[in-house]
Amino acid sequence: MIQGPSVDWIAIAPEVALIVGAFGLLLLATFARAYERGLSIVVGLGALAVSVAFSVAAWGNAPVVTMADAFRVDDLTELVRITVAIMAALVILLSVGWARFREHGSEFTALLLLVCAGMGVVAGSTSFVTLFVGLELFSLSLYVLCAFDGKSRASLEAGFKYLVLGTIGSIVLVYGAAFLYGATGSFMYGGVAASLAEGGSHDSIVTLGTALVLIGLLFKVGAMPFHMWVPDVYEGAPTQVTGFMAGATKLVAFVALARIVLEALPAVEHLWSPVLIIAAVVTIIGGNIAALVQTNVKRMIAWSSVGAAGYALIGIIVNGSDGLRGLVFYLAAYAFTAMGAFAVIAVFERDQVREKGYATLDGMRGWGFSRPFAAMAMVVFLLAFAGFPPTAGFIGKFVVSGTAVTHGYAYLAIIGAIGSVIGLGYYLRVILSMYDRSRKSDVGLPASPGLGGATLVILICLAVVLLGGIVPGILLDWSGQASAFLAVVK
């Protein structure tokens, strides 16, 4: 009989809760079709709450390593699990009034729970094998979620594009991992690091493996020049899924990237550091310039999220405890900002059903006067994207660029500053369009069904973004505590 690895069930309880919730929901829904929507909301939110409760309970505990040392539960894992679960809960709240959700709520929710489970696995993986399992679990479910709006061609296209390009990214990553295995004889991050530190004779294979792994990961974080899927997928996917991708997927992909380069590849920093620096520069400048010419707001924010990925890369490049704290804070703050912004866009799209729901700059003209609360919240989110005080975005920008300046990467911080100036240009375009007095859109729009959920989402995100800017101490402490578990090279 084959002896399986010992499993610490408490450590993986958050994932177990999500998977049980997903399959339980599918099973229950077959018996109670009539109550599908309510059931999805209750079971979905319930599973997420249980998962978060397990994570919160384990917060601050000593790290636990389980599954034959291939999965580590430390505070970084917990932080990602909690953030992702909150993001998923916001997605469910945003979906309440959505027609597709009424028909296929159980599938949508089940897939969402599986995405969260996969993301938790990725966040805690300490081996390329676990990483790949988690990555595929969440990616495959996410492909379907992107294509979930079956009646919309754009959504189907987004799902298909994401499937094809995302799979290529995964394949490249696996291929790179195989090379690294060939050179070092280990899939474990620790094993790879130890073998590389000793120095072997397989330099060319290590180089190739590192390059392929980096390409695969840059694909996943959406950094240039491997960003081409981002604008199309973000634009086409159902808006709440876009918000989830901009927030949660980015966070998870960056944590995976940070863990790999810092825990598996510290010995070859001379290989990955220049690559990441170039990627960061190109991404910040390219993403922001491309965003400048967009007329579709969803697409614009997609491009700006490409630029944000470049900014987050600085945190990894700087690679001291300050940089990593900045990285985690920046990404967590970004998640709520992006989710809030896309929630506002979702509200706008519901107002514009007749115009096919496209959130164009032109279509948004004067909209701020008919939905004052949503528009004002959008202003805050956009200013947070641009890094203005008093929002969490400012603190994120300040910490990341501050650590870059103090650790000898002032040029990266200056590039970041240039990117921010460009960013301000297009964020202001959205604000001006919403408050354009030349066109008064239909003041007093009818209350669309399900707007309560969206309002709640916007309120939650607004609170986090503003509190993160006004009293950021607690969030910074949490980020510091979580990022402390990333091995620091310098």
Binding site: T403, A417, V421, Y435, V471, G473
Partner: protein, 486 residues
């Protein structure tokens, strides 16, 4: 006990209330005016209680962002008190003018003006670099929205220029601040006192760049003319009157005390640019075809002059520069309001269409003449007092610099006289005939009179002002003056 934080919180909270509640034009206007008057009243109280030799006063210093070592530290010294007072006054007048002009969606415009006031008071009172930065960058947003939403035809291009210049400058300053704070001995510390003398040339340059753009100092003034021309009158008054002073103030209160070595080493750069800007702005002001152009270029000239005064690094120069900042704030705010009034009443601000307005319009003629005389520094006026102080300071260092400045002062008289005569006298312009503008009457007059009265008061008793700020300005330039060997 009322502290400075109240002065910041009150307009900020009022702004949020005004933004969120869809109040009517009148109620919103009176609420905003009341709040701005309350702030001004509190400032008057501070002026009475201020001890010139008492150092920082009426302040708060509480832990804020512990992991980053940022503290909410705001307090008043002599120079901040002067700037806060003038900010409060100009904001009252700007809101009053906005009420008179009946702006569309006025509750939002009043809210943004109050928000600008809050951020400006943060700038003038911050004793922590991050807090200072929050004010410095934060004020950009309400001002940009005011410009973009209520501006003139060319507002989009003006906005792009403002963003390109000022945002770039402030972001570089943020990097400099981060460097100063994070490298502080004993963990991150952003208190200004902790940063004294620790900066290097690069950090100094980043600060100077941001402040030079904001002020504006020649040759970083590219954004100024479009911004001042396309804004509505009250916004232009706030921009040129007080927002630009954020730059001049920070040169004196932050750059010079924090970087004494570099300030002494590079003082010649600022003196040279200041002198060039003073003459250049004056020449261009003389050639402008409209009232706003004259005031805009004269603002560039005056701010260059003020920065020159600061970098003389002696008592007279620094006190004169502070005094001149206050005077110029009052003069340019009043002139922009008057120019805006002329545009609405006569249909144009261009000198081609104006002229001969003095006839049967005694109030307008008197007001314009008083402001014109104040601006051209007639002996006895407060502007004369401040310019004379800077002039004395310049002679103290280099006689030839004094000679150049004197030339600039003469030019100032020329362009202001040209403005007065082009508006009030000469042949009656075609727009004056067709529109037949009324005399300056209650509403608009009430917004301009307080500014003019303050100028008169300062003219009568300039020592009241200089006595209060002298100790502070001396302390600010002391270290740099020692470095420069004065």
């Amino acid at each position: 006990m009322i502290t400075v934080s109240w002065l910041i919180a009150l307009p900020a909270i009022a702004a949020i209330v005004l933004l969120l509640l869809p109040l009517g034009q009148k109620i919103a206007g009176y609420l905003a005016l009341l709040v701005s008057l309350a702030v001004a009243g509190a400032v008057i109280g501070f002026i009475y209680r201020y001890e010139p030799l008492g150092g920082l006063q009426f302040g708060d210093n509480i832990a804020w962002i512990n992991p980053l070592g940022v503290r909410w530290h705001v307090a008043l010294n002599g120079v901040s008190l002067a700037m806060v007072a003038v900010t409060a006054l100009v904001t009252c007048c700007a809101i009053g003018y906005g009420m008179w002009a009946r702006r569309e969606r006025s509750h939002a415009s009043f809210a943004l003006l109050l928000l600008t006031e809050a951020f400006l008071i943060i700038v003038f009172t911050a004793q922590d670099l991050v807090v200072f930065y929050i004010g410095f960058e934060g004020m950009l947003i309400p001002l940009l929205v005011l410009l973009a939403a209520w501006g003139g035809k060319g507002r989009k291009a003006a906005m792009v220029q403002v963003i390109a210049y000022t945002a770039m400058g402030t972001l570089l300053m943020l990097l400099a601040i981060a460097w100063l704070g994070f490298t502080a001995p004993g963990g991150p510390n952003f208190d200004m006192v902790a940063a004294i003398g620790r900066g290097n040339d690069w950090v100094f340059a980043a600060f100077a760049f941001a402040l030079a753009i904001k002020s504006p100092l020649f040759p970083f003034h590219g954004w100024v003319l479009p911004a001042y021309r396309e804004s509505s009158a009250e916004v232009a008054a706030v921009l040129s009157g007080v927002a630009s002073k954020a730059g001049g103030f920070a040169f004196l209160a932050i750059l010079v005390p924090l970087f004494p070595e570099q300030s002494a080493k590079y003082a010649w750069v600022f003196i040279t640019l200041g002198a060039i800007g003073f003459l250049y702005g004056a020449f261009l002001a003389f050639r402008q075809p409209d009232g706003r152009g004259v005031v805009a270029y004269s603002s560039i000239a005056q701010m260059s002059f003020i920065i020159l005064g600061i970098f003389l690094l002696n008592d007279r120069g620094a006190t004169g520069a502070t005094f001149q900042m206050v005077n110029h704030a009052l003069v340019s705010a009043a002139l922009f309001l008057l120019a805006g009034w002329l545009e609405t009443q006569a249909g144009s601000g261009s000198f081609k269409h104006l002229g001969g307005l003095a006839r049967s319009r005694p109030v307008l003629a008197t007001t314009a003449l008083i402001l014109g005389m104040a601006a051209l520094a007639v002996p006895g006026s407060s502007v004369f007092a401040s310019e004379f102080l800077i002039l004395l300071g310049a002679y103290e260092n280099y006689w030839w610099l004094g000679a150049i400045i004197t030339l600039g002062i003469v030019l100032a008289a020329m362009y202001m006289l040209r403005w007065v005569s082009a508006v009030l006298h000469e042949r009656e312009g075609d727009f004056v005939g067709t529109h037949n503008p009324p005399d300056l009457h209650r509403g608009a007059l009430l917004c301009i009179v307080p500014l003019a009265l303050c100028l008169l008061g300062l003219s009568i008793a300039p020592a009241q002002f200089t006595d209060r700020v002298n100790a502070t300005t001396t302390a600010m330039i002391n270290a740099a003056a020692k470095e420069a060997g004065r």
